[in-house]
C-alpha cells in the first residue's frame, strides 16, 4: 500500500514544473513512499525547544562596499547560453 497517492505525486510534480510520463507514475509513487518511510526515522528525535539549523558557519549580515563592480562577463557571452535570443533579449514562448 502506497503511502503517497497518485494525485499527490501529480501535485508535487506540478509544483516542481516537471512533466511525468503516465507510465512512470506508479513506480514513482512507490519509490516516493519508501523514501518517506525511510526519512520518517527523524520523527523519533526529541526536538522540543531545539533551534533549527539552516547554516553551519554562524555568519550573518555579510556586507560589501556599496560600489558597482563591473562584470567580467559580457551580456553577449551570457546571452550566448540561451536557447533562443532576439535582438539582444532572451526569447520566451507566449505566456498564454
Amino acid at each position: 500500500m502506497s503511502k503517497i497517492s497518485i494525485s499527490e505525486i501529480e501535485k508535487v510534480a506540478k509544483l516542481s514544473r516537471i512533466e511525468i510520463e503516465a507510465e512512470s507514475i506508479d513506480s514513482l509513487a512507490q519509490e516516493f513512499s519508501s523514501i518517506l518511510e525511510f526519512v520518517e526515522t527523524i520523527q523519533n528525535a526529541k526536538t522540543e525547544g531545539i533551534e533549527p539549523t539552516s547554516q553551519v558557519t554562524g555568519l550573518n549580515d555579510v556586507w560589501r562596499e556599496d560600489r558597482v563592480v563591473n562584470s567580467q562577463t559580457s551580456s553577449k557571452e551570457l546571452l550566448a547560453s540561451a536557447p533562443e535570443v532576439l535582438d539582444g533579449y532572451v526569447k520566451v514562448k507566449k505566456v498564454l
Binding site: A13, L15, I18, F32, I35, T57, L59, P83, V92
Partner: protein, 475 residues
C-alpha cells in the same frame, strides 16, 4: 624514459624544476594514458588536450628562461563536471546541460589556473551530483580502476577513478554528503571535504547550498594539502566563505575511534607518532548516523528543489522543442532532460517544503541538524579528532543497487559530517579481505581544522603504505 606513473605533486614539481621533464611531456603522458585506458574506465567526459598543451608550453618557456616555478605550475589535473570552466563544456553530467559552455570559470578553477596548474579533462559524476556510484550520469557509468565490474563511488566518481587510474595528478570534486570521501575510499585514493565555507562555491553548480563543499581528490594527504592551500580562502563572490584561522597541530593528537565491524580496524594497532587513540567505541555509541541520513534526505532534496528551479529551458541549457507556451517550456524541458534521480529529489523536496508538511519534515530535519551538530561538537571538545571508516563496505558491483534507499545508505558514515559542517579527510587504509578492494579511514576535525586533519593523515601516510597501493587495470 623515466617512470612517470603515479607521480605526486612534489615529485612532478621536482622533475619539472630540475628540467628532467617538461610540462609538455607530462601533459602528453596523461593524454596518452587517457586515450588508451579511458575507453575501459570511462572517467572522462571531455578531454581538453589542445588547451592543456598550450599552457604546458607556456610553463616550459618560463622554466627555460630561468624563472622559478610554483609548486602547482605545470601540474596536470582533472575537474568534475560540476565546475564551470570558461569556454569548456560543463554538463553536470546532465542532458539538460548537454551543450552548455560556461561563460566564466569557478573561483577554485581560476585559483588553480593562476597557480599554473593545467586542467587536462572534465570528468564524470552522478547527474547534478545526485548519487553515490556515478551510475546516475546521464552519459555513461564510470568503472572502478581496481575492478572494472565495480562502481568508483560517487558522486565524484569520475574524479576518484581518474586519480586511481593515473589520469592526471589530482582532481577537483564536490562533497555534499560524502561525494568526495566515499569515491576516494572506493578507489583507494585520498579525498578532502573541507570545512563548510573554506573554499568558494562560486561557479560550481549548486546542489544543496548549505552543504556543498569543494575539495581535492589526490594520491596523498600532502598533495591534497597543496591543492587545498591553493583553493581555500574568502571570496567576495561567495558570501558564505569564511576566514578560518588555520592553526598548527598540537604536539600530541588525542583521537576517538568509532568501530564499524572490523572495517579499517588495524588503525588501532598502528604506532603513529603524536597520534594517541585514547578511546575506542562502537559506531552505535556515536548514535547519530541514521538520524543524520534521514535528516539529510529531507534537507538536501529541499535545497535541490529550490536550486534546480533555474533549469527553465529559457536562460541556458537544453529546451524542449515540443512546447507551445511558456508553462509547457518548463514542464516539458524538465520532464525530458532531467534524469530519474534528479526528478525524484526535486519532487521529494517540493513535498517536504509544501504547505502542511513543512513543520513535520523540513523544520524537524533542521532541528535534528542542530542535535547532530551539537553532538559532533561535543565529541570534538573532548578529542582532537574522530577516526572511523569512510564506508561500511567496499565498492559494489555496477547495477547491484537499483533501490534508491540502498544507494543512499552508502553514505551512512559520511553525511553527518556535512550536517555539522566540519572537515574530514578519507585516506586509503587497507584492502577488504573478501574482494581485495580498497577501504578508507576518515579523520574528522573541528570546523577550521582542515590543516590539522591533513597533517595527521600525512603522519599516518609517512608510516604506512596503504596510499601507495594501486589497482592494476585489467584490460
Amino acid at each position: 624514459m623515466k617512470d612517470l606513473n603515479y607521480l605526486t605533486i612534489p615529485k612532478a614539481h621536482e622533475l619539472l624544476k630540475s628540467k628532467k621533464l617538461t610540462s609538455e611531456e607530462l601533459v602528453k603522458f596523461y593524454i596518452n594514458k587517457i586515450k588508451k585506458l579511458n575507453p575501459k574506465i570511462k572517467a572522462v567526459i571531455s578531454l581538453e588536450d589542445k588547451s592543456a598543451l598550450i599552457k604546458a608550453k607556456e610553463v616550459d618557456a618560463k622554466i627555460a628562461s630561468g624563472v622559478e616555478i610554483g609548486i602547482l605550475e605545470g601540474i596536470p589535473y582533472t575537474a568534475k563536471e560540476m565546475f564551470m570552466t570558461k569556454g569548456v563544456k560543463t554538463t553536470a553530467a546532465s542532458k539538460i546541460l548537454e551543450n552548455y559552455e560556461a561563460p566564466y570559470s569557478a573561483t577554485a578553477i581560476e585559483k588553480l589556473e593562476n597557480a599554473g596548474a593545467i586542467m587536462i579533462a572534465k570528468v564524470n559524476q552522478d547527474e547534478f551530483a545526485h548519487g553515490g556510484s556515478t551510475e546516475n550520469s546521464a552519459y555513461h557509468p564510470t568503472h572502478n580502476p581496481w575492478d572494472l565490474d565495480r562502481v568508483p563511488g560517487g558522486s565524484s566518481g569520475g574524479s576518484a577513478a581518474a586519480v586511481a587510474a593515473d589520469f592526471g595528478i589530482f582532481s577537483l570534486g564536490t562533497d555534499t554528503g560524502g561525494s568526495i570521501r566515499q569515491p576516494a575510499a572506493y578507489c583507494g585514493v585520498t579525498g578532502l571535504k573541507p570545512s563548510y565555507g573554506a573554499v568558494s562555491r562560486y561557479g560550481v553548480i549548486s546542489m544543496a547550498s548549505s552543504f556543498d563543499c569543494i575539495g581535492p581528490i589526490a594520491r596523498s594527504a600532502e598533495d591534497a594539502n597543496i591543492v587545498f592551500e591553493a583553493i581555500n580562502g574568502i571570496d567576495a563572490k561567495d558570501s558564505t566563505t569564511v576566514t578560518y584561522k588555520y592553526e598548527k597541530m598540537p604536539k600530541s593528537i588525542d583521537a576517538i575511534y568509532y568501530e564499524v565491524g572490523n572495517v579499517v580496524d588495524s588503525i588501532k594497532n598502528q604506532k603513529i607518532e603524536d597520534l594517541k587513540i585514547s578511546d575506542v567505541k562502537s559506531i552505535e555509541d556515536l548514535g547519530i548516523t541514521e538520524e543524520a541520513l534521514a535528516a539529510y534526505y529531507i534537507l538536501v532534496p529541499s535545497e535541490i528543489s529550490s536550486n534546480l528551479e533555474r533549469y527553465d529551458g529559457i536562460r541556458y541549457g537544453n529546451s524542449s522543442q515540443d512546447a507551445s507556451n511558456l508553462s509547457e517550456t518548463y514542464f516539458k524541458t524538465r520532464g525530458e532532460f532531467f534524469g530519474p534521480e534528479v526528478k525524484r529529489r526535486n519532487l521529494i523536496g517540493a513535498y517536504a517544503l509544501s504547505a502542511g508538511y513543512y513543520d513535520a519534515y523540513y523544520k524537524k530535519a533542521m532541528q535534528v541538524r542542530t542535535l547532530i551538530k551539537n553532538r559532533v561538537n561535543e565529541i570534538l571538545e573532548k578529542y582532537d579528532v574522530i577516526l572511523m571508516p569512510t564506508t561500511i563496505e567496499p565498492a559494489f558491483k555496477i547495477g547491484s543497487k537499483s533501490d534508491p534507499i540502498e544507494m543512499y545508505k552508502t553514505d551512512i558514515l559520511t553525511v553527518f559530517v556535512n550536517l555539522a559542517g566540519v572537515p574530514s579527510v578519507s585516506i586509503p587504509f587497507g584492502l577488504d579481505e573478501s574482494t581485495g578492494m580498497p577501504m578508507g579511514l576518515q579523520i574528522i576535525g573541528k570546523q577550521g581544522d582542515d590543516n590539522k586533519i591533513l597533517e595527521i593523515a600525512k603522519k599516518i601516510q609517512d608510516k604506512t603504505e596503504y596510499h601507495e597501493k594501486v589497482g592494476e587495470i585489467k584490460i
